[in-house]
Structures are given as C-alpha cells and as structure tokens.
Symmetry: C2
Subunit: 343 residues, 2 copies
C-alpha cells in the first residue's frame, strides 16, 4: 500500500479535494498548484487506490473475459493466447485492467452474472460464440457493454461483434484449389456448433456450388481442432475409395495432423496432396510466407484482439453508442502446398 490522497494532500498543505482535482485534470485548478501536486505525486510514487476510486465513481476501469474450460475447445484453442495478448495490450494502454474468469462450462452464466453484480468490470468480451448463443441474450439483459469475438447466427437482438470473414476466406481457398484443377477437396473443419465452423463450411460449399461440383459428405469432417484429430481425419480421408487430392483444414494445428497422416503412408504434402489451412497468424507458429509448406488464408488474431478491445472500450465510455461491428478480411498466402503432381 502506497501513499493515500489524504497524506499527499496533508504533505502539501492542501485539501484532498484540490489534489484530486489537480491529478484528474479538472480545469479549475491553479496551474502552479497543479504542477506542485503533480511533482509531489510523482515523488511519493502516488497511485490512487483502484478500489476506492471505483467505489466513488461507480466505474471499475476493468474489463472481463470469461473462458469456459470443461469442453476444452475454447482456451484450448491456441488463438486464445494471441487474442488476449492483443486485447490486454489495448487495455493497459487505456489504463484498464483485464479480469480473466476461467470457469467450468456449467458455471459460465453464473460467472457473467457474478462479474456484473459484484461490479468487478465495466464491460465484457465473449469468446467462441456458438450458433444461437444464449450468452448474448444474457449479457443483453445484464445491461453491461459487451463485444463478441465472432458472431452468432440465429441471434436476433443486435449486438457488437468483431469477426473475420470466415465465409469469404474459405470460399477463396476452395476456389484456389478448384482453379488448380482439384475436384475432390476435403474440408477438415472445427466443431460444428461453433459459429465460425458453420461459416467456413458455407464458404466451402459456395465455391463448390459455383463450380458445379456436388459436395461429398464423406469429404467433410468436423472435429476439435487438435493435431491428433487432424491426423485421424486425414487417415480416414485417405482410406476412402476415392480419396481427396486436396485438403482444406480449419486450423494449422489440424493441418499438421493431416500432414502426418499423409507422410505415414508415403505421400508428400504439397506434392501428392495439397494441404491448405486457415489460421490466424500466431506468433509462436506463424504461417504465410515464413512457412511455405502451407497455402493459407490468414489474419492476425493479435490485431483482432487489439481492435476488439478498443471497440469494447468505446462502448464502455459511450453507453449510447449503438451496436458496432467490424469484419476483418484475411490474406491468402500462397505456399508450395498445392499438390501439383496430382493435377
């Protein structure tokens, strides 16, 4: 515990009120007084007590992220860390704290209610929206500003979101493969039920339809986005009577699993079978030009976190701001994973 406002004021022979005003930039303070106060505060390493300040102002200057864990397809997702990194950066720049609430799936709703009722945060970020996601209605009712990272189809109430253009991204990736002459293109998607997975599937189907190719259910897999599942999906796909010549994976981790399945049976990814991935640029596992093994549609998830956080803060600071949203486009980065030999 450091110096208090009262102590600081006493040491200056001023009232706490004046010191508070000086420190918070109120105009009616004598310029010399303000300077004196600022100097003294710095010298004393004075930082206002967060709790007292929030209690007095009714604002916590903190933002909450609730992460459910039991289903394991959430924090588990490696994009989580990068998103948090970007968001956290934006928060600390703006002087906000980030409160992370990691709870079992079943307690997620209670966690939101808790954070709101206890006044811990001024705003909330929603991760990993599903189709018809209940949380959006809940947060709407709770009345605190919130942002959704992603979208939730089937929700009628308007809400604020930031999303990447999953549909367009996967449509383009599929078109790219079609242009190369592939017709048997597998989609190894994330878990159905997650909104992004649905959108990616739609983009894939759009492209097939436009090319006059009937989708084959056997080529469409859905799984948690982990390496072993990608591996398993890859094995199953290769065992098909008429296996795919190209594979479109929903995440780089899954693509690694696919590569493993290929090399196990002596096929070389990028020569025998094309492997394209979508992944947000993860700092510890970048894709794009640095990793020419894949062709990828990618966007920076750290940028997304930053941007989403900025939008949330805008909502927090202006409650009258209507629902705002932002759609990020992806880059298509061509690597050498195009399966030329099969064409």
């Amino acid at each position: 515990m450091g110096v208090t406002l009262k102590e600081l004021a006493a040491s200056l022979g001023l009232s706490p009120t004046t010191v508070s005003r000086a420190l918070n930039g109120y105009p009616e303070v004598n310029i010399k007084t303000r300077q004196r106060v600022a100097d003294a505060a710095r010298a004393a390493n004075y930082h206002p007590n967060t709790r007292a300040k929030s209690l007095a102002t009714g604002q916590s200057r903190a933002v909450g992220h609730v992460i459910p864990i039991s289903t394991s397809h959430e924090i588990v997702n490696p994009i989580f860390a990068d998103f948090i990194a970007g968001a956290g950066e934006a928060y600390s720049r703006a002087g906000y704290d980030m409160v992370l609430s990691v709870v079992p799936d079943a307690e997620e709703e209670a966690a939101y209610r808790n954070l709101v009722a206890r006044g811990t945060v001024d705003g909330l970020m929603v991760h990993g929206p599903r189709l018809h996601d209940d949380r959006i209605g809940l947060l709407h009712d709770l009345g605190l500003p919130f942002m959704v990272h992603g979208r939730s189809s089937g929700v009628n109430t308007p809400y604020s979101w930031l999303d990447i253009n999953n549909r367009r991204s996967f449509r383009r990736a599929t078109e790219f493969l079609l242009d190369l002459g592939h017709t048997r293109i597998a989609l190894v998607n994330g878990l159905e039920g997650m909104d992004f997975a649905m959108r990616r599937r739609t983009g894939y189907l759009d492209a097939l339809e436009a090319a006059g190719i009937a989708p084959d259910r056997a080529l469409m897999r859905t799984a948690e986005m982990t390496e072993p599942y990608g591996h398993q999906a890859g094995r199953e796909l290769l065992r098909l009577p008429d296996p795919p010549t190209a594979m479109l994976a929903s995440s780089m981790i899954v693509a690694y699993g696919l590569r493993r399945a290929l090399t196990e049976v002596g096929l070389q990814p990028g020569r025998d079978v094309s492997v394209i991935t979508h992944d947000d640029d993860l700092s510890y596992m970048p894709n794009g030009l640095d990793v020419p093994q894949f062709t990828a549609t990618c966007s920076s998830v750290r940028d997304a976190g930053r941007k989403a956080a900025e939008m949330l803060l805008a909502l927090v600071n202006d409650p009258d701001l209507g629902p705002i949203n932002h759609l990020m486009e992806t880059r298509l980065v061509l690597g050498d994973s195009t399966g030329r030999n099969r064409l």
Copy 2:
C-alpha cells in the same frame, strides 16, 4: 448493479451489520436469521460489491499475472494459455479474480509497481524467469506475496516457486537416446537467458558427460521456440559434415520444425533420425501416447498452473508462510521416434 446490502437489510427489517455477519458466516448470528438472510439474498440475486468489500477489508481478493510482450518469447509461448487456464480455475474455485496485465517489456516493472500501489491485487505470479531475474528482487521489495513459475538461478533472496525438473527431464531424455546407441545428439533448446533453457542444457550435458561423450557445440542450438526456427535449426544441423542421428527439442513446436526439415530432404523422422521433444501436455496439441510420432518428456502445464495458483493463494492467506516451492517431475513417454534404422 444489483441490490446493495443496505437495501437487502431494509427489506428484511434488519441492520446491514447483521446481514453482513449472516452472509459472511459469523457465528454470533441466530440460525433462523441466518437462514432468512440467505434466502432473501438468493432471491434478490445479491452479490456484495467487490470494490466496497475490498475497500473495507483491505483485501482485493484478486491475483495478478504480468505478461511482457515485446520480446515475444513469453505470451507467445503456447504453454502460457494452459498455465493460465489451470491457474484461473484454481482462482475462481477459491473466489479470487485473476487480473492479467499485458505490457511492453520495458514497462514490466512499472506494471508490477502499479498493481501493488493501486491495491489491485493481493498477490502476483511471475512468468518466464530468466537467469538473475530482477523481478524477484523487485517483488521482494514491494512486499506482496508472489510465486514464480520456474526458477531464477543466481538470485540469492529466497522466494517461492513451482518448477518442473527440467534438468532431470533432459538428462533422462538424453540417456534414453544414448541407450539406443546414438552418439551424435543435437539439442535444439529455447532461448538462452531463460532459466529453463539453461537447466535443460545442463541435463543434456550431464548425460553426455556420464557417457563419456564430449559435447559438440555445433549440435547445440538455441532459438525462440517457434516452428520456423526449429525448421531452420534442423536444416542447419542436417547440413553439418557429420549430422546428428538424434535431435532433442525443447518444445513440440520446435520438433515440428525439425520434422519438416527432415522430410524436406527425404528423411523420415523416427526412422532415419530420432526426434525427441520436451513439452508440457497442451490440450490442443497433446503429446505422449496420443501422438506416437515423438518420444517425449512431458508434464501437465495445466496442473502446474493449478498448483502454482494454490500455492500463491496459500501465501496470500498466510503472510507468515515462508518461501514455499514445488518441483514437478516429468513423465518419459516413448513414441516411435527412435531412429532405429540409423543404429
């Protein structure tokens, strides 16, 4: 904002004090009153205002994690998310909030000072300790309980930590390769300067020395633990006049890079060159028996997060508790990546 204690008390015809006592489990409350209060609180969805409570008690019931980002070898590390998940779980079980502070490297010290001076947290977790890490002395001076995830060699003041037995883990992995007959064993380590990397190197050198094998500097690489760096290290190692027959990677991500380097030149990992990795069990990218491509020394980083958080809370709740620490052993999991053909 929900109901306040005062309102709740008024609706019950009781004083705020009594209600507070009833809710906080003080013994001197009439059993019937307590019941009545509990019921009313539940019915009104009453949650005590965190800020007011902390202000009154002087405790924030929150714990801080400071994550520096500019050097990118920290949050970047995929183990971060799992550790946070485990810790967050323990915190919310104990009714504590987790405050994440993501700051540029240069502002890390200021971030610690801030959190302490503003009274935002009751305790702190330190991530990614380096050799002679300044943060430990700083936190010691700040006087708030803290835990280090890892250790920092060269620091004299005693401090609380939780670490895995990096040295033993890498010694065993190296011994395993030696037992298989390998003598040219590469070590693709994390960044020197990080304490864990030093310990891993020591374990590796211990094993070589015990086997009477002189270490070869050309076989020892140090890099950020990303896929591209692993790939680059792998290429360089394979171009050596006398290339290694086995590679020991400090993380699975790096091991993937090594595998890529091998397959590029037509070598098969696990048949032509053995690839062993160390990695904590990451939920989105498990190793061990599920992924028989690698032999691995692994520990659950989520467990580590949980345990470290519990230890930190113990420190917070008992300031007299001396420095406490915990050393986790790893499991050695044998996959098929043993390079049999070369032996």
